[in-house]
Amino acid sequence: MKKLKRLLVLSHEWNVFLVLLIIISISLFSWWTVKVHLEKEWQARLDFEMGKVTGVIDREFYGYGQALMDLKAVFQVGGIFNSKEFKEYIESTQVLRRFPGMQGIGFAQKLERTEFSDLEKNMRTQGYEDFKFWPDSERSLYTSITLIQPEDWRNKKALGFDMSSELIRRTAMDKSLIENSLTISDPVILVQEDAEVHQRGVLIYLPVKKIVQAADAQDPKDALLGFSYAIVRINRFFNGAFGVPEFYNEKINYRIEIFDKKMGTTIPVYERFPSREGGREIPEFSRTYQAKVFDKNWTIHFEPLPHFFNWYERYIPILFAFVTLVMLSVIFVALWSTQQFLKFSERHKNSLSQISKNKSEEIALFRKLNMVKADLSAAIDGDSIFDRFCMHMSEVFGVDDCVVFVREQKGPYEKRFQKILNVFPDFLPIPTEFEDFLSEGILPSRAQDENEARALDLLSNETRALLADHPYYMVGAVLHESGKKTSVLVILRGPENLCDSEMKEYAIQRVVGQFAMSYDKAILLRRAEDANFMKSSFLANMSHEIRTPLGVIVGYSEILADEELSPQEKEAIGKSIKRNGKELARLIDDILDISKVEAGKLHFEMAQVNLESLIHEIKSIMEARAIDKKIQFNIAKLSNVPSYVVTDDVRLKQILVNIVGNAIKFTEKGGVKILYKTGTNEAGEQYLEFQVQDTGVGISEKGREVLFKAFSQADVSTTRKYGGTGLGLALSKRLAQLLGGDLFLLESSIGKGSTFCLRIPLKDLNQGTMLTMRPEVTSMKREGLEDSQRDIDWVNMDLKNLLRGTRILLVEDSEDNQEIFSHFLRGAGAEVQIAEDGLTAVEQAFKFNPDIILMDIQIPKMDGREATKKIRQKGFTKNIIALTAHALHEELQSTLEAGCNGQITKPVSGELLLQEVYFYLNHRSS
């Protein structure tokens, strides 16, 4: 195999042509071999055909000679017949029938010149009236045809003719006489022929002599009686022996000639298919045969006719050669292609093996890439992602160090992770346009091409100086998954050949992309965890926040029960209860509002609002608090502000109370200022701006990040120190945004204070529209409740007659609760019916016909929600209030959906229970 390969590979181009030559030679040889074989076949076939022709000629002429010899013997023995005897003899021998090619057989009697008249007389006596010897001239020998058979009109014409008068005949006769044997003449025009159609014939002579002693024979003419002869008309002979020539039914053509030695010419005898043109070419394939006919040598030329060949035989050699050529050509082409391939392989041996090696490496790299991506995507913590990233970059790509910068939105690139590399500053000043180059691929610090150099020019001199120390590579990734654009820049310190293949470059980009994605997800996860933690913290805070005013209210309420209190004490207690009640209501407002904001169910009523009046109201509320804290409180108008604006006054007031309340809460000394003015934004839209400045504790960098997030305060210690749920700012910001404006922290400094900025769009009065969304029954009712709570003067209420005449169905399974609730309710003048389970409740709702139903949720047989649904389905339209142990939004929502109008959360004091029932009865008509 190696030898063959070397032979093929190392041979020169001319070898190809040698092979081609061999192929052509083999094709020619095959053609020649087949041709020779065929020609042999044709020769044998021609020999067979020739044999048939010469055999017939031999047989016929032998028969003619035999007939003449028989006649000679009869005449020698029995004397010359008269015509009648001759006719009988010929008929008895049936010679004419046996040899149909013979025109006739006859006898020419020898005469002396003196015997002409006697012969004529004798012949006339035998019935030949017109018999005459002819032609009459001087010659050495006279003969006259006296007998001839058959005596047809044609042969009769020859009677009396002296054949020795004509040269060709006499030559044959002389030769026959001298040699005393059968001779054949050259072709002659027969005397039997008419003038129009000359048919040539040949004559066969045999001398008939008297039987004499040999010694007496001096001159052959002396003993000569005459010549027996046979007439052969040539065309008749061949037509009779071989049939009429039919070109397309015969396989061969033949031409018979006689060579005249004396004259040196060739005399044609017969041609089976004469050529129409004189100079016909002798066919390539022909044979010549010498046939002995008596004393003459006939030369017979044989040549095949088209019918001699089978139709396909002519094409076999060329076909064979063609097939051989095609097959060998195919083999040649295959070999040639192999040779070319081997030559190519030989020439590019090194590069092909390099490609193969590279491919293997790329496949291995691709597999590793998948593994690395899977590993990175499995990590959920930022630091562990970076550790894994560094490990993989080192193991797979030989990167010895890396640093990661992250830019959020349009901020600076901030260093987030570094392995050992500490030469880069915490913030990298990189322009936004630089990211366009990063998105195109990996950017090496030692840039080669013009494009990369242009990218590096965008960097500051300091950054470029840092990057010039080592071969660094910069890879970028941009993410939008966390809802904002996050750009990640990874700087790798690696070998010079880090990006020597597209596959490696691609793999590095993919790994960096996966790292960035995993990191982003980790951030999201951390935020979700933080949010969850904040919510849990909020729930804990809420519990505390609610309990505090509640505890005060409950405690003072109990004290009020003591009738020994002085009116001043009662008034002070009443105020305290009122303030704590309001605080509690505000807290609940916040909780409900933030729930509604989150659920997208908050409603706004845009209307014309008197701004001065609103500012005055805020001032009156906040001033008292500021006085309590012994700090200053001022409001200042900084520009021409319209007297009326179109907005939702309740929400605007809520926001301002919130941020001003916060400012007062976090300010221990100094004061709080509200500055308000109008302005125009970039889009040319006018806005109304409130700046709330305080000289409080200020907000740290970290605190600013979570400032407007629900359920979070700047830090947990804030909650402990200042209280609050952390809902205020989140709610206020959302409300400001829903009003079409925004709330943001303008500036803040730890220990010096903060400035919050509230902006709302300044709409033309004419454009003021009611933005009330579709009426939500429950929400609307809640709004009504909240308003009512603000308006009721609890201090002056008489609880003992609060529910006088009211029919209340208390659905409660706990014996204790039945007792204490009914005690409270009856104490307030209500008529109470108790139902212990859901089924009884449904029944009593229509039997007792209450004004209000207090429905415990966890009751036997049918729970409170189901019972409420049944009652509603049966047409009960009055208030049903749920008694639940949970104040969660979900719990409230499920009871509202079941058909309750509201809920009272247990544990509940007697006073609170009565207040709630009273509110629902008086302010929440069904």
Binding site: A561, D798, D816, E819, I820, K906, V908
Partner: protein
Amino acid sequence: MTGIAIPLESRVRYLKRRQAEINDLMDSEAAPEVLLEKAQKIGHQVKGNAFTFDFADLTDNAKSLEAAALKKDIIEVLTFARALMAQVEAHLSTLV
């Protein structure tokens, strides 16, 4: 606003019922599942209405009792049940 006082007898009845229930719980020879169920019920009930009967101090132990029952920790259940019983008895001794 004049408050509505809670009748003494109601408060006493409340305490006595709790006392009976906790005694029943501690003396019970029932299966642990039944015991835990009873403990959870007592805890939940006291948590929900002790404040209403002006026994807010019972709430914490009631919550713990309920939580222990949910955790199926019988030792803790008995511990908090005893603590609750001590509080109930202390209130009873004051009121009666």
